[in-house]
Symmetry: C3
Subunit: 134 residues, 3 copies
Amino acid sequence: MTSFDVITHVRTELVDITDNVRDAVAQSMVSSGMCFVYVPHTTAGVTVNESYDPDVARDITATLSKLVPHRAGYAHSEGNADAHIKSVLVGCCQPIPVEDGQPVLGQWQGVFLCEFDGPRTRRCQVQVIKAGTD
Amino acid sequence: MTSFDVITHVRTELVDITDNVRDAVAQSMVSSGMCFVYVPHTTAGVTVNESYDPDVARDITATLSKLVPHRAGYAHSEGNADAHIKSVLVGCCQPIPVEDGQPVLGQWQGVFLCEFDGPRTRRCQVQVIKAGTD
Amino acid sequence: MTSFDVITHVRTELVDITDNVRDAVAQSMVSSGMCFVYVPHTTAGVTVNESYDPDVARDITATLSKLVPHRAGYAHSEGNADAHIKSVLVGCCQPIPVEDGQPVLGQWQGVFLCEFDGPRTRRCQVQVIKAGTD
């Protein structure tokens, strides 16, 4: 398993980590299989969505913040309950197929670290597994 | 990795692809492991839920559309920001265990392609990986 | 693949199953790879989030119930449409990396069965797959 760090700059943002994931897959020497991008954090997530128009990432974070507001009488006293809930909704692990030694991403797909309680330094771990036919 | 296409007929719908997934798993010749159903799209998703009563799929799409309305002042100018956000909430990859050469689905579980910006032709990719004990 | 049962006690709750997942991974004898925690149910889910402060789990279930109320004119006649929808939002399968024969969990991360239509006995299945470099 390889890992890399991502420095986030605001409380809530999506950071494009597609190139880091491509590098991790290349380094694994796996030609066909699956890669898994995992954050060992409880107030962040990982997702795949459009990386071409940055407005999409902004709409995603804005809508999540409308659905799960920062302050809403939560029981958790640290002031970041919303970030935990967003992490559950988005998920902390993104599986992506691998073929020809590359992550299989659609034309508009990029991989994003989802920061919900930044700014911080976040760890991303990438595990790559060979397919059954290798 | 194998793939198949799904033709969708309306803007938002869940299409049962359980039989296609069963076929892809059988074709892989993997007896025990995991399969991953992946859509290389940013306005669609994949999920597992009840396939017996079609009202469940309708409740899922209706509730997602209430939470994330089609028009709500999004920044993304293409008019489908809601579909991108729903794709993030549902996810574009569904892992399912495989045993005895079959996807392990509970009694009521089926696999669904989630169309959020149709009608279109969508690609579904299925990667199957052998378990550690194979 | 191994499995274990979880008895839930109320309609909606998160049950910490981290120790069960650790045991299943140890039993698999896989040193480096991925484990997948899967529930073959359509009104439950699996997630990873903070296990230290139980208020976080309470905030997660309370917020999901605010977003997807128990009664809201759903088409599905069994009275548990909300539980199906929550299951889709959270997901029925959680992938977690494995290193040194252990699930790779961050300092605050635990694994939770998410009960949305209890009380019931729920089945959790754990599949473990070796990494490409094994």
